[in-house]
């Protein structure tokens, strides 16, 4: 029950047998086991697959559809490497004013600092600038959509 999905849980401690972990990790891949735990000379190693981990780490949930809903609202783990997350909670707007063309479109090239969106929070309009240059692969939000902290707004590659 302990440490499932926490491959790095003992990573920071001194005297870890990294080779043993690598070997077990290889063995995991090789054998298709979900979890290996060994105890040797006072040390204990347990490795497990991440797929099992997310189940074990989630809050216990009764098997009713209603209860599962809030979990879905949480940001998905492992976003795209080019994802630009919302730095704040609020309502996202794609254009400077209603009826005007959007700041950016898919396929367009942007430079660092370009305004991508506006997020309205507490009646204040907050421009969201591009954290880096690149090509807009996808716009992930729609005009007027509520966004959380960390919601992926768009993907720049």
């Amino acid at each position: 029950m302990s440490g499932k999905g926490e491959k790095k849980s003992s990573g920071g401690k001194p005297g870890i047998d990294v080779n043993a972990i690598r070997e077990l990790s290889d063995l995991l891949n090789e054998t298709g086991l979900t979890e290996i735990e060994i105890e040797k000379e006072g040390a204990r190693i347990r490795v497990s697959r991440a797929a099992v981990a997310s189940v074990a780490a989630a809050a216990p949930v009764a098997s009713t559809p209603a209860a599962a809903a809030p979990a879905a609202a949480a940001p998905a783990s492992g976003p795209h490497p080019g994802a630009v997350p919302s730095p704040m909670v609020g309502t996202v707007y794609l254009a400077p004013e209603p009826g005007k063309p959007p700041f950016v479109k898919a396929g367009q090239t942007v430079r660092e600092g370009d305004t991508l969106f506006i997020v309205e929070a507490m009646k204040t309009m907050n421009p969201i600038a591009a954290p880096r240059g690149g090509t807009v692969q996808e716009i992930c939000v729609t005009d007027g959509q509520p966004v959380e902290f960390g919601t992926t707004l768009l993907i720049i590659v």
Partner: protein, 447 residues
């Protein structure tokens, strides 16, 4: 009544508020930091909004993010719980400015009670007893006269003082003159200023606090007292309702004083007046203008759901009961189970590998932990609260003992073993303890 409430907190208190809302048919919005995405309050609320990264300053204390979370979810009111923004008058103002309801007192009362000097002056004027002493500098003659009035022992303190220097106790009139001259000499040497003032000195006070509830129609009631004398570094560890030291007449008297004072003030919502108590007398410490961690012991003996009443009065409803309807039944004790070493109190965040909560008659368990939950290192160490209620204090202690022995929290250190020892200590069993008892006990036990 509100249709939807945003809970601006985390942990067990967020769950507590969520439960009250559910039982009133009110939809809930949880807010959370990225570190709390798997937290119980997020799972059990109807909606959840991530408002920022792990540090509280950027999430649970982030006022714009919380207001924006109300805006995008349509929540009409915010319950701040305790800690975080619960006693932040500016936040209460902002909430109001945005057309939302702050489930708590009026901003001016939060502000008033947040300033120690204003608070003391205000409550004194309202008839609440404070620590007696000189209003400022005293001469030897004035000191002798005043000490006779307020009673020995008295404390002589340097007005410029701090850190215990220039501070002397006179236990009797014989010692007064020497205490004054020593304090003056020390003050002169330490601060270059020999001005001293005088206060009543409390040797072994208890911490006793009175819970009140007030609606917006001028009705104020008190729900009796809690005894929170068992503290370590000013952190409450174990709370009881009622106090082993008070009788019904004393309860009624201090309750009446507090109720009249807050009626005059026009207070709204839940609040607690904290006192030091010694030799049958109360001395005001401060007022908490919010829900307290230890509110469940009061709920146990009164049968009143304090969070429900907070929500009701914030929505403009009147209290559905009067002082005469409130009956105190039995005795209740709360233990704060922290994720800490039980004796050094070193925090012990980490993954809970085993968890089993106690059950049965008279046991309430308020907790946000579960098997497999990882207690994050960013916030306070309160893991769960065990509250037991029984017909009298003796039965309550025995019930507490058996409930503690059922509780399992594995994988991290907790304060459970401390409580298992405390519940068997003769002084605790006799209710014979002051605010200094626990620290002394820990030193004597070698911790």
């Amino acid at each position: 009544m509100f249709e939807k409430i945003l809970i601006a907190n985390r942990g067990e208190i967020a769950l507590r508020i969520n439960r009250a809302c559910k039982e009133m048919g009110i939809a809930t919005v949880a807010v959370h930091s990225t570190a709390d995405a798997d937290a119980m309050h997020v799972r059990l609320a109807d909606e959840a909004v991530c408002i920022g990264p792990a540090p509280a300053g950027q999430s649970y204390l982030n006022m714009p993010a919380i207001i924006a979370a109300c805006e995008i979810t349509g929540a009409e009111a915010i319950h701040p719980g305790y800690g975080f923004l619960s006693e932040n008058a500016k936040f209460a103002d902002i909430v109001k400015e945005h057309g939302l309801t702050f489930i708590g007192p009026l901003p001016e009362h939060i502000r008033m009670m947040g300033d120690k000097i204003t608070a003391k002056q205000t409550v004194k004027a309202l008839g609440i007893p404070t620590v007696p002493g000189s209003d400022g500098e005293v001469s030897d003659a004035e000191a002798a006269k005043l000490a006779k009035e307020i009673g020995y022992p008295v404390l002589i303190k340097a007005t410029a003082g701090g850190g215990g220097r220039g501070m002397k106790v006179a236990k009797t009139a014989d010692e007064l003159s020497f205490a004054l001259s020593t304090a003056r000499a020390e003050a002169k040497a330490a601060f270059g200023n020999d001005t001293v003032y005088m206060e009543k000195y409390l040797e072994k006070p208890r911490h006793i606090e009175v819970q009140i509830l007030a609606d917006s129609h001028g009705k104020v009631v008190h729900l009796g007292e809690r005894d929170c004398s068992l503290q370590r570094r000013h952190q409450k560890v174990w709370e009881e309702a009622g106090s082993p030291a008070l009788n019904a007449a004393e309860r009624d008297e201090i309750g009446g004083i507090v109720t009249r004072a807050l009626t005059q003030l026009g207070y709204l919502g839940a609040g607690t007046i904290e006192f030091l108590y010694e030799d049958g007398r109360f001395y005001f410490i401060e007022m908490n203008t919010r829900l307290q961690v230890e509110h469940p012991v009061t709920e146990a003996i009164t049968g009143i759901d304090i969070v429900r009443e907070q929500i009701r009065v914030a929505a403009g409803a009147g209290l559905g009961f009067s002082q005469d309807d409130i009956v105190f039944e039995g005795h209740a004790i709360e233990c704060r189970i922290n994720a800490e070493n039980p004796f050094t109190f070193r925090p012990s965040p980490g993954t809970i590998t085993q968890f089993h909560s106690p059950g049965g008659l008279g046991v309430r368990f308020d907790s946000a932990i579960y098997t497999g939950y990882r207690i994050p290192p960013y916030y306070d160490s309160l893991a769960c609260k065990l509250i037991v209620h029984a017909k009298n204090r003796n039965e309550c202690l025995l019930r507490l003992r058996r409930a503690l022995d059922e509780l399992v929290v594995g994988g991290i250190e907790t304060t459970i073993p401390l409580f298992q020892k405390l519940v068997r200590e003769p002084d605790i069993i006799n209710g014979d303890y002051s605010i200094h008892w626990l620290e002394k006990y820990l030193v004597e036990a070698g911790h």
